[in-house]
């Protein structure tokens, strides 16, 4: 069985596996996105817009091209502006920073999970719902006895309504249960059934959806930019232009001036 993904909430391995930016703590879908983020946000020359690979590279560029010195990394968290660490993607992140980031992610993850559980009343993934009514397993004799009892009640008429009413109220998912010869298939284990989602629950997944949307858009934009660049360079090499005007000796003005419409009678 493959990994099951549900609810839009990634599991802790997924979260810990995401590359993130040392300078601003933002995390990304993959390393390529992280690197392009760093080049655009932290290693971009504000004089000429050139995107360098590292802070050191930017420092050398500023020094050589613009005769300036790089003081700090742009757009970085206050304690991460230093030039002493050489960062490229996830490389070069000091071990203690890696560890504290990791532990903070783990803490946040379990905190969020707990918050969700409190907000929705849903069980944590992988745990069975303790509040759910246990399905009692009856022997054939017990079942038959119960059926007989139920038929008895049905014969008596009015009581039936009472029975269904109580069943529906106590476990709505099993409203059909009383009809012994028509038992519904059991819901898959672990999936809470019959419980409508509480309104409060909507908030968390929505926020996550928006994040996902943004990330997907980012990824797409990055891919598009890449494609466009590739196309442009291809065009340069392969395609030959067709010139709208290709006379190497006579300018368009000379041609126009030669037209009868504009010809000046040189009588004067």
């Amino acid at each position: 069985m493959g990994k099951k993904k549900r609810g839009g909430h990634p599991d802790i391995e997924e979260i810990l596996g995401r590359p993130w930016c040392y300078y601003c703590e933002r995390d990304f879908e993959d390393l390529k996105l992280l690197i392009s983020h760093q080049k655009a946000k932290h290693f971009k020359c504000d004089r000429c817009g050139r995107r360098l690979n590292t802070a050191g590279g930017l420092s050398v560029h500023l020094n050589q091209v613009h005769k300036e010195t790089l003081e700090q990394v742009e757009n970085a968290l206050p304690n991460r502006q230093g030039l002493d660490v050489e960062i490229f993607g996830m490389e070069g992140v000091p071990a203690d920073v890696l560890e504290s980031h990791r532990s903070r992610l783990i803490q946040n993850f379990y905190q969020a999970q707990e918050d969700r559980r409190l907000a929705t009343g849903n069980p944590l993934p992988g745990q069975t719902q303790s509040t759910r009514k246990k399905i009692t397993i009856e022997t054939a004799e017990e079942l038959k006895a119960r059926l007989a009892e139920w038929r008895e009640k049905r014969k008596n008429g009015g009581a039936m309504e009472d029975v269904t009413a109580t069943t529906t109220a106590s476990h709505p998912g099993f409203s059909q249960q009383p009809f012994g010869d028509n038992i519904p298939s059991r819901p898959p284990p672990g999936v809470p059934f019959g419980l409508p989602q509480r309104p409060g629950d909507g908030v968390a997944p929505q926020a996550d959806d928006i994040d996902n949307l943004i990330r997907m858009a980012e990824a797409r934009a990055a891919a598009d930019a890449g494609d466009a660049a590739a196309k442009a360079s291809k065009k340069d090499k392969e395609k030959k232009g067709r010139m709208i005007y290709d006379d190497a000796d006579t300018s368009p003005e000379e041609r126009i001036a030669a037209l009868p419409r504009y010809a000046y009678a040189a009588a004067a």
Partner: protein, 350 residues
């Protein structure tokens, strides 16, 4: 970078295709437009702000007017016309007088206020150098090695682009010495081969007197520096622009780059092409700053006002190889926009 940048029309437009468009040296809102319909139009953009017609007046010539430039102040203009004449217009009285006559159609005029020199170029491969400070003197004729197509002037130099990819750079001080000597031979300060393979279409000089840009009929712009040192010459470069992918997907359609003009304030430059688009470039940083929204027609001429506030353009149908007839009547527009503070500012000059 916002691409949706609109231009406003100046109404009424010229009666036929535009050959040149120049802002006045003093007032930033006045401009002259020369046209194939034999008129030179004087507009004042400021009039549109008080809901008046921006067209102040027009000056009728004997023949189509191929170029126009202002003189020392906003009241004098010079024109080059198809009747081979170089004319002086008194913009206040409307009086037109002929300064000199070439052997063929006069195609360009430039004026240096600092030197009091008016230079005209004609298709008989000559330049006429006029001493405006001494109206009684006759112009000095200088032979060119090729047919001139574009003239541009910087504070100290004049660039002439000719057929055969020849580019001559003249020193304006040498020109003044020539005038005071009353004639003689004027040697170019430098003669260069164009960096572009095809016919030069436009030339514009950097306002800081450091160099110039040229454009060709083959969708390309080159930027070069005057200084004749190995380092300076190594800095020159050319790039492709004003091209569109062909509709059938096979190659590009390459348009001529008809107009080049530097922004006097920021030192960036604009290029206008047959693809009906205008782009702003930072020559130093080698970057495109912005591309304006597609215009209805081929860009024929452009200019920035002296204070960099206004950017005016003229559009009319483009002329294509093999075209039998041509008319810009009814399809010509003069448009302007007020530049934002940083619109034409180079990225490097932050």
């Amino acid at each position: 970078m916002a691409p949706a940048l609109q231009f406003e029309d100046l109404v009424p437009p010229p009666g036929d295709a535009v050959t040149a468009l120049k802002f006045a040296p003093t007032s930033s809102s006045k401009l002259l437009v020369s046209s194939w319909d034999t008129n030179v139009y004087l507009y004042d953009i400021a009039q549109t702000e008080i809901n008046q017609s921006p067209l102040i007046t027009k000056f009728k010539h004997q023949a189509p007017v191929l170029d126009v430039c202002f003189g020392d102040d906003d009241s004098v203009a010079y024109t080059a016309s198809a009747d081979r004449c170089v004319n002086r217009i008194d913009l206040e009285t409307g009086q037109i007088s002929v300064l000199s006559k070439h052997g063929a159609i006069a195609c360009a005029v430039v004026y240096s206020a600092a030197h009091g020199i008016l230079v005209s170029a004609a298709w008989d491969s000559t330049l006429h150098i006029h001493n405006i400070r001494d109206p009684s003197s006759s112009p000095v004729r200088v032979a060119l090695p090729g047919k001139p197509h574009a003239l541009a002037i910087s504070p100290s130099k004049m660039v002439v682009a000719m057929t055969g990819r020849i580019i001559n750079i003249y020193d304006l001080n040498a020109m003044r010495d020539l005038l005071s000597a009353g004639g003689g031979d004027l040697k170019p300060w430098q003669q260069r081969e164009s960096s572009l393979r095809y016919l030069t279409r436009a030339v514009a000089c950097m306002p800081n007197d450091a160099g110039y840009a040229t454009s060709s009929i083959e969708g390309r712009v080159a930027v070069e520096w005057f200084e004749d040192t190995a380092e300076s010459q190594a800095r020159k470069y050319a790039f492709k622009c004003h091209r569109q992918p062909a509709p059938d997907g096979d190659g590009d359609i390459v348009y001529p780059v008809n107009a080049l003009v530097f922004n006097p304030v920021h030192g960036t430059f604009a290029s206008g092409g047959g693809d009906s688009s205008i782009a702003l470039w930072d020559a130093e940083a080698k970057r495109r700053l912005r591309q304006y929204l597609k215009l209805p027609n081929n860009v024929a001429a452009m200019d920035f006002s002296n204070d960099g506030k206004y950017f005016a353009i003229a559009t009319c149908p483009g002329f294509e190889t093999g075209q039998e007839d041509y008319s810009g009547a009814g399809l010509t527009n003069v448009q302007f926009r007020i530049l934002g503070d940083n619109e034409a500012k180079g990225k490097s000059s932050k």
